[in-house]
Amino acid sequence: MRSLLNAWSWLFLLLILGFFEIYAQTQTASTFLFRVYNLQSISVAASQILLLALGLTLVIVAGHIDLSIAFSTGFAAVVMALIIRAAGADAGWLVVLLAMGAGLLAAGLVGLVNGWLVALLNVPSFIGTLGTYGIARGAALIVAGGATVSIRNDHARAFGNGHVLGLPIPLVTAAILALICHYLLKHTKFGAHTYALGANRASVERAGVNVKKHLVLLFLLSAVTAGIGGLIYTSRFSAGAANAGEPILLYAVAAVFIGGASLTGGQGTITGTVIGAFIIAVIQFGLVFCGLPPYWQFVAVGLVIIVAVLVDQSKHHIVGGGS
C-alpha cells in the first residue's frame, strides 16, 4: 500500500507526457515522446534542477531550508572555470579533475558555514542560508571579477556534453546522485534520523544522536550536490557563471515540494523530488513545443504545479487518515 503512494505522481507525469504526445500526433503529425532528442533535452534540464534539489530534499525533510545553494552552484562553477583557465588552453584531464575538486571544496565551504550557523549558533536556517546566499554570491562575483569566466577545454566540454551508453552525462551524474541520496534517506540511519529530526528534534536528541553533527552533514551534502551542479554547468556551457544556480533555485524548491515534502519537515522522498523535477522539465519543454505564447506559459506552469499537488493530495483521501 504505502509503496504505491508515489503512484499518483507518476501517473500525473505520464498524463502530461500523454497530453503532449497527443498534441504532437494530432497537431504536428510528429511524436513528442519517441524522439531521443526530446527525451535527452528534457532529461538534461531535469538533471540541472535535480542537482540543486537532491541535497535540498534531505535538508527540507529535516525541517530546514537551504537558499544558499543558488550560489554554492555558482561558486563551484566559477572556481572550477578559473583553475582551468589558469592552467591554459590545453590543460589535461588531471587539471580538470583537480579544478572540479577545488570547485567542490568551495561549495563545501559554504555548506560548512551553513551547518555551523544552523547547528551550532542556532540561527534559523531560512535566514542563515539567506545570509550565506549573499556571501557566496559576493564571493563568487569577486573571485570571477564580476563576469562569466569562460574556458576552452575539450575535456571539460566532453564531460558536460558527452554521453555514456547513449545517456547524457548530466543525466548520468544526476541519476547516480539521486541513487546515493535515495539510499541515504531511505536506507540508512542517517536518513531515519533526518526524518525524525523533521518531526521532533527532541526525539532524536534524546535518543542520543549528535544532532549538531547531523545538521552540519546535511548542509554539507546539499552544498556539495549543488556544487556538482556547478561543475556540470561549467562543463556544459564552457563557462563558469557566478549566478549559475540562482534562476533554478525556485524550480528546485518547487520540485521538492511537488515531490511531497512540507515546510514543517518530516516528509518527502527522493523519488518524489525526481518526479517533481521531471514534471517541471516536461511542462517547460512541452509548452514551448506546443507553441503556447510565453505569458500563458507562466499561467500554465502555475496551474500544473497546483494540479500536481492536488493529485498528490487525493492519495491521502484514498489511502486513509483521519479528519
Binding site: A202, S203, A207, G208, G266
Partner: protein, 243 residues
C-alpha cells in the same frame, strides 16, 4: 551507583528546582513523588542531559555526567522514558524503538536499515507489555495514547541499561498494561538495574519503591522507606509546601 548532588535549575525568574540531592543504588527503585509542578521532570531532565543544571552535579559510577549531552548520558548506560514520550511521530514503532541505534543488514557490503527485524522486535517487546499494534508499519502518529506510551517504555527497557528513568510511565496505560510495567520494574531490579520512577499513583509507588523521595515546590520535602510511612504522610509531605 548514580548520585545527584545539590541540583538546581532556574527558568528565567522561576527557580523550579533547588538543592535536590539523592542517590540510586544498583537494583534499587527510587520513587520521585511530588505534586504537579514540583520539579520532578526537571530533575530527571538534568540527569539525562536534556537540561544543564544551573548548579549541582550528577555522577554515574564515579563518572561526572554534568555538562554531557543526552547522547553521552545514554551511552553511559542511562535510559529515560520522558513524560512527553519524545517519539518521532512520522516513523514506525520499530524505528522509534531503535532510534539512534538502528539495526542494519549488509547488501553488497552496504548497510541497509533492517526495517523488518526492527518492526518485529517492536511488536515483540510491546506484546510483552500487553499491547497489540494493529499495523506495525504505520507511523506512531496514528497510535492510541497507550500504544504510544508502550513504545516509549519499550525503547528504554530494550537496552542493557544500568539505570532506567521513568517519568510517569503508566499514565496512559490500561489496567493490565500497568500491571505488566510493575512486573517489569521488579524484573529489572532483580537484574541489578537501578530505577528512578516518577508516579502519581500511590499504590504503584508503594509497590515499587525501595525509597520514596518527596519533592515539594522544587525542594526535597523528605525521604522515606515505604515500610516506615503511609499514603497520608506522603500526600501531606507533597502538599506541605504547596499549601
Amino acid at each position: 551507583m548514580a548520585e545527584d548532588r545539590r541540583l538546581r535549575k532556574r527558568f528565567g525568574g522561576n527557580e523550579a528546582v533547588r538543592d535536590v540531592s539523592f542517590e540510586v543504588n544498583a537494583g534499587e527503585c527510587v520513587v520521585l513523588a511530588g505534586d504537579n509542578g514540583a520539579g520532578k521532570s526537571t530533575v530527571i531532565k538534568m540527569i539525562s542531559g536534556v537540561y544543564q543544571p544551573t548548579a549541582g552535579k550528577v555522577w554515574m559510577n564515579g563518572e561526572l555526567l554534568t555538562g554531557k549531552t543526552p547522547e553521552a548520558v545514554r551511552s553511559a548506560g542511562i535510559e529515560t522514558i520522558y513524560q512527553d514520550l519524545a517519539l518521532a511521530d512520522n516513523l514506525d514503532p520499530g524505528l522509534n524503538l531503535y532510534l539512534g541505534r538502528e539495526r542494519t543488514r549488509r547488501v553488497l557490503g552496504l548497510p541497509f536499515l533492517d526495517r523488518k527485524t526492527m518492526r518485529e522486535d517492536a511488536v515483540k517487546v510491546m506484546k510483552g507489555l500487553g499491547i497489540v499494534v494493529p499495523d506495525p508499519a504505520a507511523p506512531v502518529r496514528e497510535m492510541s495514547g497507550g500504544q504510544r506510551q508502550a513504545i516509549a517504555i519499550a525503547r528504554a527497557i530494550h537496552w542493557q541499561a544500568g539505570l532506567v528513568i521513568m517519568d510517569e510511565p503508566t499514565a496512559a496505560l490500561g489496567v493490565p498494561e500497568q500491571r505488566e510495567v510493575m512486573a517489569l520494574i521488579e524484573r529489572l531490579k532483580s537484574k541489578g538495574v537501578g530505577i528512578i520512577l516518577i508516579s502519581h499513583n500511590l499504590p504503584d509507588i508503594f509497590a515499587a519503591a525501595d525509597r520514596i523521595i518527596v519533592l515539594a515546590r522544587g525542594i526535597v520535602a523528605g525521604e522515606r522507606r515505604p515500610a516506615e510511612t503511609n499514603d497520608e504522610e506522603i500526600v501531606r509531605m507533597m502538599m506541605g509546601a504547596t499549601l
